[in-house]
């Protein structure tokens, strides 16, 4: 067997069972000659070809108690401030109704508005920070200060240079300004300009779109694909075209807002199953088939399962083999949203379908976005030719929304060609492997330090749990002081007790950058007391690093 990393036609012939099997059988062979050992000792051997390790560790009880205490204090002071504002003891910076509307149904009394003006406002300076450079592995930040506790901001005029970027979805590092890389994009910009000024069905279909769609279909290994100008709109405008009244949608608990919006707009019945929980999904499927529609007991016209490839708040990967076997058994359709996983997982970056070694024919509707791994904007839906032809005529996006603009389409074309190896270099494959290495290294070090990290070991989205509301602001501000930009997420986007900092590892991050970030996290973890994990692997990570490098590719 020659070089096990041989690339031909953009597909990688390489056996990934090596890592799993040698851990089980204890025999180490160097050049991937593992065919004989494939059958040993894998518990889910028929469905999962490699180990599926996910972490969702629960914090000690006192952490939950203190989190509630913190929110309690915040709420009490929130009521106090609301009282002072209502009685004129304090200047009102918030939106209030006009005097004439005071007798109407109140607009700002619900919990969401209370939370926004009393808790979110206090730490608002950690979000919506304007940057003034390309969001590559490092970026420049405009410095801003507030004089009245985050109600208004002003810019000091200074820019903070070279802040390490741990928040952008720049998984493969294609957000770059290198002139050589963007040569074709510049040419297309000169040729086509920036505006399309029309929808796909009128005059907005260019030869660039046709080229891009054929390339996407070839990349994914499906019959046809269609691209749209906006990733969010791809979900919210196409699900209503595929399902309607009388259909059943089974959607994961933690699906993205675009999927939820699309499901609600379609008018179908929606049932939610627990996150990545196959028993819950099977139970819902059985009930749906046994009992049918709610009052007429007729069979459902269509049953569709909505899942994502990688869930961006948890970092977990969907259990695709089990879902596909369930869908075949109960004759349902599968809609897979690979927004974060296309380009980021899989041996050659073709998403979760390749990661699990399955064929793209198993999934009925493959959806993805170009915003994350390809450094552009927009989304696609791919699958059988009949499906895509149907969408070309029936999708709301095709009829009413402006199509993707040509320079962006060219950026996607050049990124995809790089990834497939069609530009003659192995740069694309190197990026995918660099991302894999960075992900594994980052996650391993964080586990060793003792932080609680959620998600699958192979996902480049790394949520680090902070829990207490006081620590959200402190963490983000202190990381910025150390010149590292992080994204922290709190209540509405996550459950109230589980606020987190979400890191997105990129192929463009060098080992030094990751080490800087990890050292800063180590220090900050001790200072803010964030290391809640009870299962930290070792207190001497340096001793283990050598042996692990041998086991990895």
């Amino acid at each position: 067997m020659a070089n096990p990393s041989a690339v031909c036609n953009g597909h990688l012939h390489h056996h990934h069972q090596k890592q799993n099997n040698l851990l089980k059988s204890g025999i180490y062979k160097k050049n991937g000659i593992t065919k004989g050992m494939k059958k040993n000792g894998i518990s889910n051997g028929t469905l999962y070809k490699k180990t599926f390790i996910e972490h969702f560790e629960q914090a000690p009880m006192y952490v939950a108690v203190l989190t509630f205490l913190g929110f309690g204090v915040g709420t009490v002071f929130g009521y106090l401030r609301d009282f002072m504002r209502a009685w004129g003891l304090e200047k009102r910076n918030v939106a209030t109704e006009r005097e004439q509307q005071k007798d109407f149904v109140p607009l700002y009394q619900d919990f969401e508005n209370f939370y926004t003006r009393n808790l979110y406002m206090r730490i608002r300076d950690n979000w919506n920070r304007p940057i003034c450079s390309v969001p590559g592995p490092q970026f420049d930040l405009m410095e801003r200060v507030t004089d009245d506790y985050n109600w208004t901001f002003r810019f000091t005029g200074r820019t903070i240079k070279n802040v390490i970027n741990m928040g952008s979805y720049n998984y493969l590092g294609f957000a770059e300004t290198d002139v050589n890389a963007l040569k074709t994009v510049t040419i297309e910009l000169q040729k086509y300009g920036t505006g399309i000024c029309s929808t796909r069905q009128e005059m907005g279909t260019l030869d660039k779109h046709v080229e891009l769609e054929q390339l996407v279909a070839k990349f994914l290994g499906v019959e046809d694909a269609m691209v749209f100008g906006m990733g969010f709109a791809t979900n919210s405008m196409n699900i209503p075209a595929l399902v309607g009244k009388g259909c059943l949608i089974l959607s994961d608990e933690l699906n993205h807002t675009s999927l939820v919006l699309g499901a609600r707009l379609s008018g179908a019945t929606i049932r939610i199953f627990k996150h990545n929980n196959m028993q819950s999904l099977e139970k819902l499927l059985r009930e749906a088939i046994i009992y049918g529609q709610p009052r007429s007991r007729r069979a459902w016209r269509k049953i569709i399962i909505l899942v994502e490839g990688i869930y961006s708040m948890e970092g977990s990967i969907v259990r695709l083999p089990e879902i596909v076997s369930l869908k075949r058994k109960y004759k349902a359709y599968l809609y897979l949203d690979e927004a974060h996983s296309i380009g980021a997982v899989g041996a050659t970056g073709r998403g979760v379908v390749e990661y699990f070694g399955m064929s793209p024919d198993d999934v009925d509707v493959l959806m993805g976005t170009f915003t994350k791994s390809f450094g552009a904007a927009g989304g696609y839906i791919a699958g059988k030719k009949d499906l895509v032809d149907f969408l070309r005529t029936h999708s709301h996006s095709a009829v009413y929304a402006t199509s993707m603009c040509p320079p962006v389409a060219e950026q996607i074309i050049r990124a995809m060609k790089c990834l497939m190896g069609l530009d003659g270099t192995t740069q694309g494959l190197q990026r995918v492997r660099q991302l894999g290495k960075n992900t594994r290294y980052f996650r391993r070090r964080l586990h060793e330090m003792g932080f609680i990290i959620y998600g699958n070991d192979d996902s480049p989205v790394v949520p680090l749990l902070l829990y207490m509301p006081g620590k959200i602001g402190a963490f983000a501000r202190r990381m910025l002081e150390k010149n590292i930009g992080v994204v922290v997420v709190g209540f509405p986007a996550t459950p109230i007790t589980e606020s987190r900092a979400r890191f997105c590892v990129s192929a463009a991050h060098t080992r030094e950058m990751l080490d800087t970030v990890l050292n800063a996290l180590d220090e900050l973890g001790d200072f803010l007391h964030l290391k809640y994990s009870r299962y930290s692997k070792s207190s001497h990570p340096e001793l283990y690093e050598e042996t692990r490098l041998e086991l990895e590719d």
Binding site: L66, G70, F77, R122, G470, G473, A474, H529
Partner: protein
């Protein structure tokens, strides 16, 4: 050197208290109010403990010693 370490440690403890009770996000006057209330409540707890705990312990000790060791008619 030692004084500085102690001061740093005390500052770290104060910072942890601020983070845990979420008073880190409050404005300075709210923080003062919160600290006053907390210190008052804590002082009252300590005072109550100082006044009542020794008496309760002594009574409990007498009660249990009466049950276990007080059979040969001792009156306390």
């Amino acid at each position: 050197m030692d004084v500085k370490q102690v001061k740093d440690y005390l500052y770290w403890l104060y910072y942890q208290y601020l983070l845990i009770t979420c008073s880190y996000v409050l404005e300075p006057w709210e923080q003062s109010m919160f600290h006053t209330i907390t210190v008052t409540v804590f002082a009252m707890v300590l005072y109550t403990a100082y006044v009542f705990v020794p008496i309760h312990l002594r009574l409990a000790f007498q009660f249990f010693s009466q049950i276990f060791g007080g059979q040969p008619g001792s009156t306390v």
